[in-house]
């Protein structure tokens, strides 16, 4: 890990906390609005987990903001008694970026769906992650468009029969974790609506992370895609399929006689093999989310496929990199500080090339070369002369 001199390191640094000796409860984070998801929707469980977890942060409620897009899941902010914005389809990461950059004293969360984040909002999502804005993004993946009543989404499997794909989807899906790793997100995790303990554990790490934390949450939509994650929820099935990612430990699937482990095979690829077949201990990979090189995390994210035979869950990657909002603020603060008392808006308006018209002698002009010079090039002054070209005016 690199050491950040002068910059905050925890996700919630700079956000005011509740007075010492006091604490908030789940009830404090519950708004007076009636929750309107379908009975049995996985969103309820996530809401309960988040409401239950937020008091643990010890932050002032008024300094927490949830920004969402559009979709069933994006109704989330209405049910939390914090500040919130239910914005437009796909754009929440952009809005949250502006808010988080303008206000370092806020803990900013994004709630989005698989369609919201990966289809219409794909561009904003990847750019938020590459910039590493200090946001926690909860991506509710139900592999379907819920709110619009059941069309396939960018995470639906090939062959998925939905309202808009009666003959089966031919669209190759995104793996959100792979995508996030490809975009160089600094924190990437996967968890599940129904596993409250795991979800809370991931939320805790995500909130503590300074930078963009992408949390994919598998979420069941009982109405339009029921049972999409059943293989991971059924106790026995889950045991045989889920690979819990734990820092410093080998990546294991199953237990007892069926125990398997992830190894790097002779071609350099990752493979899941029965523990008994491991010939060389060196082959067994040890999970290291803090590895600056994302390639092993990426390879792990490729272990799962539509069959869900092997499903890594947990934190894939957790590395430190300067955040966009901290860096933007630091540049401004530093410039303001350097200018100190000397900064004057009047001088800025005058610019560096002024002349004075004196009323007593009409037409009399006196030229001065004073005032403030801008830091960068001015609009009209191109750079022709012996050095460069001046007219750079493309589309």
């Amino acid at each position: 890990m690199t050491i950040q001199l002068g910059l905050p390191t925890r996700g919630t640094d700079g956000v005011p906390t509740v007075p010492d000796g006091t604490s908030l409860t789940k009830k404090d984070f519950t708004s007076d609005q009636e929750v309107r998801w379908c009975p049995g929707c996985g969103d309820y469980a996530v809401l309960a987990a988040v409401q239950g977890f937020l008091p643990e942060l010890g932050l002032r409620r008024e300094n927490i903001v949830f920004v969402s897009g559009i979709g069933c899941s994006s109704r989330f902010p209405y049910y939390l008694d914090t500040y919130g914005m239910h914005s437009i389809h796909g754009r929440a990461p952009a809005i949250a970026t502006g808010l988080a950059t303008a206000r370092e004293d806020l803990s900013v969360w994004v709630v989005t769906g698989d369609g919201d984040a990966l289809s219409i909002g794909g561009n904003h999502l990847i750019h938020a992650m590459r910039r590493n804005v200090n946001l926690t993004i909860l991506l509710f993946n139900n592999k379907i468009y819920g709110l619009t009543k059941g069309q396939y989404s960018p995470t639906s499997n090939v062959g998925a029969v939905t309202k808009s794909t009666p003959a089966g989807s031919v669209d190759h899906p995104f793996n959100p974790v792979s995508l996030a790793l490809g975009a160089e997100a600094t924190f990437v995790a996967r968890t599940m609506d129904s596993d409250r303990a795991h979800l809370t554990e991931v939320l805790r790490a995500a909130a503590a992370h300074r930078g963009t934390a992408l949390v994919e949450i598998y979420q069941n939509c009982p109405i339009f895609n029921d049972g999409a994650f059943e293989l991971l929820k059924d106790r026995d099935q889950a045991e045989a399929r889920i690979a819990h990612l734990r820092a410093g430990e080998p990546v294991r699937v199953g237990s007892g006689d069926a125990a398997q482990v992830v190894v790097r095979d002779t071609t350099g690829r990752l493979a899941v093999v029965p523990v008994g077949e491991v010939t060389d201990e060196q082959q067994v990979i040890v999970h290291d989310p803090s590895d600056p090189d994302p390639s092993q995390a990426f390879a792990l994210s490729r272990l799962d496929d539509a069959t869900m035979q092997h499903m890594p869950m947990g934190i894939f990657r957790e590395v430190t990199r300067a955040t966009y909002d901290d860096a933007v603020r630091a540049q401004v603060d530093e410039a303001v500080e350097r200018a100190g008392e000397g900064v004057s808006l009047d001088a800025l308006l005058r610019g560096k090339d002024t002349w004075t018209v004196d009323g007593t002698r009409p037409g009399e002009v006196e030229q001065t070369l004073e005032g403030e010079v801008t830091e960068g090039p001015t609009a009209a002054a191109g750079d022709a002369l012996v050095q460069e070209a001046d007219e750079v005016r493309p589309e």
Partner: protein, 634 residues
């Protein structure tokens, strides 16, 4: 530079010079420097840069021609001038592309070095116009000078520079010569060069040498029978500078934020001709300005809106194609009732259109380019310096009424420049805003409660309650909200009420704007010329021309396009005829006809260039003639 000339001086009241050359010849810089030196002499002036969309079109071709026109005078002027009195042409392409705009008798200063066979052929000249007598025959005063070789010769002592490098300083030689011819002092340019090339002494000296060589050539040559002087224009006392529209707009935003006590946050995505504002503001961090270059225009406005939600003055800058992408988020800002300034530096459309040319064709997009009933105040700047005031006005409306405001400028204003009487910050409007800090209502049981959509009775603005304020936690968004409480509401009557409230709020802006100023000096006019945006200069110049020939014509210009000033209908009905020139196909005319049932007469052109004063004067004359044939002498 000491003045050693013996050439006789002639006094002129106004001059229009156009510098034209290849994109790489540095004509924008040359024009810019000439403008600065002219400004410091106290002339009134107005400029029009005109450049190709390509960074470097093939050298020596017509598409690669870039030009800069400057009009300066000993009196108040309104436009960059219809036709150049002097054309400086650095190559055959520049000559060919601009000759058509030159009236008989105009002066031509041409770089003869570039008139070789190949360059002539590139633009279709079969014989050399500098030598075949055609230009002189056509009545031009031709000065064919080997500017390139003169420059190379003057720079002979600079052994470390290559010939190519030396050649590139020819624009400075031309500038020196023109400065001599029009009696401009080059001290400002010398200071500019020193500041710019202080770190490269060779290059600095080379440029200064070329500049001085041009001036010295003028002094010693007998090629020019006279040189000219244009006296300073009487201007109100004050401190002046020249400024482009985009610079003024950027400064207006900074000043507005300061006067509002808000942090300025710009979200922007580069696009011609708006990018300069992003560049300007990015260089003003020491004034506390935050600029975010987003991944696209949608993100740019999203970032600005997010910042506004957080209590900043959120601003986004773009041109027409970008405004199209921002529509949905503008709708969100209408619904959430947050302040936001959206700046559109219009260019030729549709689609990519003419990126570097000017047009006023986004008015209807600004007014109506959104789904639903989505009223947005629209203000327009009328001149380069007015971009400063227009930015402050847009910010005033946005913050006072908690609404997105669209500010329309265009490529002509953005890149054009003129002298600006620099205001004092303390004299600018006070835009202070107050954030909500406590409960503003009582709930059913009489307990204090915060209602995010309880409105100010005067402005109908809702409270601006920013995150971090204890007790005011609330949720906003694009789904229809219940009046007062702000809860989600699908109630039909509530929606009808909210649609009307949002419209009424925007309508109330009219109560805060001054009555329309009508310029009707004789009081006898029957024709009113109405304009908006950058047609201000050409209309002002045209009405002057008409009045100078005894015609009576009134003139008014709209700053506010939505809502209109309260007395607009009354003003329109006062005249027998309303003439409305627009650089579109009649967008404002359509709005006025619909709103006031007045038979507005459109005059439209979409050539990518501003109207000329002569063209508009002709149009006005025709209308005067149509109304009263016997009274008008054309």
């Amino acid at each position: 530079m000491a003045d050693m000339s013996t050439t006789p001086l002639t006094q002129l009241d106004r001059v229009v010079i156009r510098f034209a050359g290849d994109s790489g010849d540095g004509m924008q810089l040359t024009g810019d420097r000439f403008t600065s030196d002219t400004a410091s002499l106290g002339n009134d002036l107005s400029t029009l840069p005109n450049f190709p969309a390509e960074i470097r079109a093939p050298q020596g071709t017509l598409p690669g021609v870039s030009s800069f026109q400057v009009h300066f005078a000993d009196h108040d002027i309104a436009t960059p001038g219809d036709a150049p009195d002097v054309l400086v042409a650095m190559n055959p392409a520049a000559l060919k592309a601009n000759l058509g705009d030159l009236p008989r008798g105009a002066t031509l200063i041409v770089n003869s070095d570039e008139f070789g066979k190949r360059n002539l052929a590139k633009v279709g000249y079969t014989s050399n116009p500098l030598e075949d007598g055609s230009l002189v025959e056509a009545g031009y005063q031709l000065h064919a000078l080997p500017l390139t070789s003169m420059t190379v010769e003057a720079l002979a002592p600079f052994e470390s520079l290559t010939r190519k490098e030396k050649e590139r300083a020819k624009n400075m030689l031309a500038l020196g010569l023109l400065s001599w011819l029009y009696s401009r002092d080059t001290a400002g340019t010398e200071a500019f060069l020193r500041a710019k090339f202080g770190a490269a002494p060779q290059i600095l000296e080379a440029n200064l040498t070329a500049l001085r060589a041009g001036h010295a050539y003028g002094e010693t040559t007998e090629g020019f029978a006279v040189r000219y002087q244009v006296a300073p224009a009487p201007m109100p006392p004050g401190t002046y500078r020249t400024i482009t529209g985009n610079q003024a707009l950027a400064l207006g935003l900074v000043a507005a934020a300061e006067r509002a006590g808000l942090h300025l946050v710009l979200g922007s995505y580069p696009i011609t001709p708006a990018s300069d504002i992003l560049h300007q503001l990015s260089a003003l961090k020491r004034h506390g300005v935050t600029t975010l270059q987003a991944e696209d225009e949608i993100a740019a406005i999203g970032m600005a809106l997010g910042a506004s939600f957080g209590g900043a003055l959120g601003v986004t800058t773009t041109s027409g194609p970008g405004l199209a992408l921002k529509s949905e988020t503008i709708g969100l800002a209408v619904s959430t009732e947050l302040p936001l300034v959206i700046v559109d530096i219009q260019r030729g459309g549709p689609s990519t259109g003419l990126p570097t040319k000017t047009e006023q064709s986004d008015l209807l997009q600004a007014m109506y380019g959104r789904n639903g009933e989505s009223p947005v105040p629209v203000v327009a700047a009328k001149s380069p310096t007015d971009c400063f005031d227009a930015a402050i006005e847009a910010a005033r409306i946005a913050t006072a009424f908690r609404t997105p405001v669209i500010l329309l400028s265009d490529g002509y204003l953005g890149n054009g420049s003129e002298p600006w009487s620099v205001p004092t910050v303390a004299d600018l409007p006070d835009l202070r805003v107050s954030f909500a800090s406590e409960a503003n209502d009582l709930d059913g049981e009489g307990r204090p409660v915060f209602h995010p959509f309880k409105r100010d009775p005067d402005t109908l603005a809702r409270p601006w309650a920013v995150p971090g304020t204890p007790g005011l936690e609330h949720r906003i968004g694009g789904i229809e909200k219940a009046d007062v409480t702000g809860h989600i509401s699908y109630d039909p009557a509530n929606h009808d009420r909210m649609v009307r409230l949002r419209q009424a709020k925007v309508d109330r802006v009219a109560a805060t704007i001054p009555p329309l100023e009508v310029d009707d000096p004789s009081g006898e006019a029957r024709v009113l010329v109405l304009g908006w945006g950058s047609t201000y200069g050409p209309i002002a110049a045209a009405t002057r021309l008409v009045r100078a020939t005894g015609g009576h014509v009134a003139r008014a210009h709209l700053r506010h396009l939505n809502p209109f000033p309260a007395d607009l209908g009354e003003v329109l009905r006062r005249y027998d005829r309303v003439v409305l020139p627009e650089m579109n196909l009649g967008q404002l005319a359509m709005l006025l006809r619909a709103r006031y049932l007045v038979d507005v007469q459109s005059h439209t052109a979409v050539r990518g260039l501003p109207f000329t004063a002569a063209e508009l004067a002709q149009v006005i004359h025709e209308h005067l003639l149509a109304l009263a044939p016997e009274e008008v002498s054309v």
